[in-house]
Symmetry: C2
Subunit: 399 residues, 2 copies
Amino acid sequence: MPRISNKGISMPESPIRKLVPFAEKAKKKGKKVYHLNIGQPDIRTPEVALEAIHNFSDKVVEYSHSAGFESYRIGLAKYYQNLGIDIVHEDLMVTTGGSEALLFALNSCLDAGDEIIIPEPFYANYNGFSISSGVTVKPITTSINDGFTLPLIEEFEKLITPNTKAILICNPGNPTGYLYSKEELERLRDVVVKHDLFLISDEVYREFVYDGNDHHSVLSIEGLDENAIVIDSTSKRYSMCGIRVGCVVSKNKTVISTALKFAQARLSPPTFGQIAGEAALKTESSYFEKVSAEYVSRRDVLIEGLNAIEGVICPKPKGAFYAIAQLPVNDADKFAQWLLEDFDLDGETIMVAPASGFYSTPNIGINQVRIAYVLNKESLQTSIKILEAALKVYPGSVL
Amino acid sequence: MPRISNKGISMPESPIRKLVPFAEKAKKKGKKVYHLNIGQPDIRTPEVALEAIHNFSDKVVEYSHSAGFESYRIGLAKYYQNLGIDIVHEDLMVTTGGSEALLFALNSCLDAGDEIIIPEPFYANYNGFSISSGVTVKPITTSINDGFTLPLIEEFEKLITPNTKAILICNPGNPTGYLYSKEELERLRDVVVKHDLFLISDEVYREFVYDGNDHHSVLSIEGLDENAIVIDSTSKRYSMCGIRVGCVVSKNKTVISTALKFAQARLSPPTFGQIAGEAALKTESSYFEKVSAEYVSRRDVLIEGLNAIEGVICPKPKGAFYAIAQLPVNDADKFAQWLLEDFDLDGETIMVAPASGFYSTPNIGINQVRIAYVLNKESLQTSIKILEAALKVYPGSVL
């Protein structure tokens, strides 16, 4: 019998998926499950994007240019210019979701055996893409106790070897909601410029920054033109995760021309998704104001509720729509499974993502969970009550 | 300055793209260019697929399951069952085009440094995907003189090393139109079973088989259940290349469960594309009969016309909509460029794909071109006249 690849064997299963069979069983038993585990927002897709799909009038659904429709690229460049980011449409390429943007960035910048430094906890799929590119992840641990603050540059330098090719950040961060300050990005600039590294910044949650804070893109940090690469996506911005359209942006022309060669191999990004994405550029700013206000009120309900539970610690996120909470349990993986299998409050329970899957270092974050605040406030309030009741009776509680 | 990856440097530029700047210049000068270089059919997408898109009524465009909508997978399984291929929906996974199906198959079966044997000339992007997976292509050359017949098994065995993990075929073939007989597939079965290899078969042109010939899938060859993997796509079948939906199919459960891990990392295939794909399953058989009749008549016009030109040899393809033609020129790359830059017949010229990009062995196929018969008969007739006139005056002619 032929043998599967070692790459395939070492690919991790997604931490937000491995509990799915338990959730399905719980639902079959008639339990209602509140999904705090996934980043699928309930916010409506802008009408202008859906209309463009309804009005599609071509008779043949053709390939687009491998870099995406030119009109869409020009529109995207304007979107960045309006944010004060000085790029032209030749500096970007449309991709099949932020996922493919990351894959192209990794393939263009790193070879098998090369190393990438990523502050942890980080978006779990960074592991999967690194494995499929043959790249080794070197995590730099941030701590819930100081709100996941960026470690000192000296800590980064301890990890740098001749094989280090890039630093990857997510800003604002999934799963922590951490927002990098301009000063932190300048510190990162100093280290990547000094060591000739790429700085890959996943900025798909750019619009979700709260409390009057500013978002700073790596593309607007001076002196980073040759090093900075932005990963972007329409998924969360317009609540249309299913269209699978993102982009990769860099002022480094070799990076974009190299990424284009990988893009040509897969022919083109999805036509319908690009049509929705291009139309969505016309979304009114009032849409984002409403969405942002909604997330802030959800976040406040969640964070206050969580921190009011005995033994729970949850720093207040400044962006995105996730929070990492530390629970008074010895093993959040087991707790999350127990919530689905063995617990309910009036026939209802919650599904959370154990945080261990967001750390690359073994045995860190094992008493933490990631909670996505993509449900309405009432559901979040109920979820908090369920969590509180569960922790009181959970056999593995360490209260 | 940070350095690009070696992988990125060695990625080939697509052979059908490198002449694009010359075509654009020709058009700017007012020349009409007949595009025989790309496989973008002019056939209409089935109305039933476009209607499903127009009728999309969800308010949020959500992620689908990473393996694709279950209803679509069940529909796809029925499509295969109707072809006499005995699979269930758990044996397949929806992908972002046939491209991603191939990427997942390579990642699941081969590690960096492993080898894959591919009969050449082959679809040029197999090179790109192999490079991005770190896999080495070992070409086995087929000859235009015997119509690209599959080489003897002994020739395959000469290429097999401890690093060989798979054989990849395209059936019917792009760029040759070659159709494998059942006996040839059984010969391939014997070699892959004997040496514990995977047999990956790209069958995206399955519906385009002419002259009463039967298409045989590797999935219907006895004794291949653990070895056979099919790459499939909706792009050509329904002339909707832009939806980016394909699938990977195998009765080897480990292959599918491994591919699913790569699929989870990229979250989901495109929602709109899947909606079009699922609706397209209801396409009437009369659609395919009409399309097939159209391609047969185009092929006949093209092949007869080409072989009537002095010094041109072009075997008659049994499937797909491409042909490889040998021309009386010393370098088809230069000839193709000259056609765009320096030649016209009454203000018109043709764009062809030099075949060298479809060979992995250097210096083979340099007097060959790939011609896609995706234009209507009148355009093909005009194109043949242009080619004939061009060959008469081309300075690099070897007539």
